[in-house]
């Protein structure tokens, strides 16, 4: 008898992970009502995953806006359509770039710290201690972080979008000489609150839930060793990024 994994176990393991994540989601959703009594913990987590992510989100948003402004001005000038720079930037940001890039940054910044924190709590028996004190770790530890992700991500994506639009404005208007009124009026005329802005808000809320779900799941189910926590942290970034992009495609197909 061999100890080597059977052929095809990679697919089997992958399916088992997805199944386990689905079951974990159901457990977390069931724990959400019980977690409302720890509302202060949810607020604290919004600060940790949201406010503490502001610097990276704002910085990246600004640079992406600067690049978008440069690229679009250059491309659109070939067709004599530089007046549309603001419109294209805003639609691209609200519908896709804002939610997706913010989610990827959020996975790297907040997702990894959630996994490492919960993984270390598992490794040092803090989660078991809570269970022994008749405190449900799913309600006290996991659900507040899950809710915090859903609350914080739309706010972070909005701030990302705002900084990116300001960045593109700085390039297109202040640097390259596009008319200020044209930039804003074309943008506000073409961007619809319900189909464009809210589309991004729904997406970012879902992505926030996906990233924090993957992060808490990886931390909660990690092997209680330093190597186990390291692998779990890596898996959080990889799985939540892939899931974010896959769900983005599905949501775009349904919301368009």
């Amino acid at each position: 008898m061999s100890d080597k994994p059977a052929r095809g176990s990679l697919i089997g393991d992958g399916l088992a992970q997805i199944g386990a994540l689905g079951l974990f989601l159901l457990q977390v959703l069931a724990a959400v009502p019980r977690s409302l009594r720890y509302f202060a913990e949810t607020v604290r987590q919004v600060f940790f995953v949201g406010a503490m992510s502001l610097v990276i989100i704002m910085t990246c948003g600004l640079f992406i806006g600067l690049v978008l402004g440069l690229q679009l001005y250059d491309v659109l000038s070939r067709f004599g359509s530089t007046a549309s720079v603001g419109t294209v930037v805003a639609i691209a940001l609200y519908r896709e770039l804002g939610p997706v890039v913010t989610a990827l940054l959020f996975a790297g910044r907040a997702g990894t710290s959630i996994t490492a924190e919960i993984g270390l709590m598992r490794a040092t028996d803090q989660l078991a201690a809570m269970e022994m004190m008749a405190v449900d770790p799913l309600a006290y530890v996991v659900a507040p972080r899950f809710l915090a992700g859903i609350i914080a991500m739309p706010l972070l994506a909005s701030i990302f979008n705002a900084l990116a639009i300001l960045g593109s404005h700085a390039v297109a208007v202040s640097w390259l000489g596009l008319d200020n009124g044209t930039f804003w009026s074309n943008m506000t005329g073409a961007v619809d609150v319900w189909t464009d802005v809210m589309n991004g808000v729904w997406k970012s809320a879902v992505f926030g839930g996906v990233v924090t779900l993957v992060a808490t799941f990886q931390g909660y189910s990690t092997a209680p060793t330093s190597e186990g926590v390291a692998y779990a942290t890596t898996r959080t970034v990889v799985y939540s990024s892939i899931l974010t992009l896959a769900i983005d495609f599905l949501m775009t197909a349904f919301l368009m």
Binding site: L120, T124, D125, Q126, A128, A129, E131, M132, M133, A134, V135, D136, Y140
Partner: protein
């Protein structure tokens, strides 16, 4: 051994016919055990024999394959999640590594179970927590963070947290590991004093025979999935079974072999192949 302790009629914890497998390994193969009320009962045995697993069964963290576990008259198999949590509110558990919440101060760690289960005025919480910290000698360390504590201090804080809700049962999982002689004596004294003054029932899982003899009223020796022997400490130490001789005499070889099971040594070294 199938008979249980003489105090079985007044047992806080009663276990019958416990069978557990973890993977391919048989951990318990028909364990009967009673934990009498108001006493300190020690569970000892070679490493990997399932002592911590037994504690996880008693607290409902792990469901056995077969057998009955009754704690304070409640059959754990019949309790739902809420029932189990209600029972755990009356059980204090001291983890081997203390398991303090690292983001909270010493005071907040001890206050944690109180804050989670009742909305009490801050003054009342203070009046409950400080006497517990005083009992373990760490009232002056109330504002320290867990990272600032020594191993012995962390264990005493965990002990204060375990007794903060005046439990009926206090479980100690390896409470003496890694302690210097001073801290060891402090913990020993606390186990004895707390058991007497608070009227607790205590279960101590440990390897250190000299320490266990000083606190335990009764010892169960767990080996090879069964209760190999049980009785009062002095009586058990003088026991003449293979298990008691090896375990309490500290013999390197015996029912617990020195060598981990392996294939033939000569074959492993390749001698068999050379001959062929």
């Amino acid at each position: 051994m199938s008979e249980v302790s003489p105090a079985s009629t007044d047992a806080l914890v009663r276990i019958r016919g416990l069978h557990t497998r973890l993977g391919a390994k048989v951990i318990f193969d028909g364990v009967d055990l009673d934990i009498p009320r108001g006493r300190v009962t020690a569970v000892m045995g070679p490493s990997g024999t399932g002592k911590t697993t037994l504690l996880r069964h008693i607290t409902g963290q792990l469901v056995p394959d077969a057998g009955e576990i009754v704690v304070d008259g409640q059959n754990l198999a019949r309790l739902d999640r809420d029932g189990l949590f209600e029972l755990r509110e009356r059980i204090g558990y001291l983890f081997q590594n203390s398991a303090l919440l690292t983001d909270f101060s010493v005071f907040e760690n001890v206050a944690f179970p109180l804050r989670q289960h009742a909305r009490l005025p801050e003054e009342l919480i203070r009046n409950i927590v400080l006497p517990k910290l005083q009992a373990v000698g760490l009232r002056g360390a109330a504002d320290l963070m867990p990272a600032e504590l020594s191993g012995g201090m962390a264990r005493r804080v965990a002990l204060a947290r375990a007794i903060v809700r005046d439990p009926m049962l206090l479980i100690y999982d390896e409470p003496f590991v890694g302690l210097d002689p001073i801290a060891l004596n402090q913990v020993l004294k606390l186990i004895r004093v707390l058991n007497q003054t608070l009227g607790l029932t205590s279960i101590v899982v440990a390897h250190e025979l000299s320490a266990v003899r000083r606190v335990a009223d009764h010892i169960y020796l767990l080996a090879a999935g069964k209760i190999a022997a049980h009785g009062a400490p002095d009586e058990l130490v003088r026991g003449d079974t293979d298990w008691t001789r090896q375990f309490f005499g500290g013999e390197a070889d015996g029912p617990v072999p020195f060598h981990y099971p392996a294939r033939d040594y000569a074959a492993d070294l390749g001698f068999a192949q050379v001959k062929a």
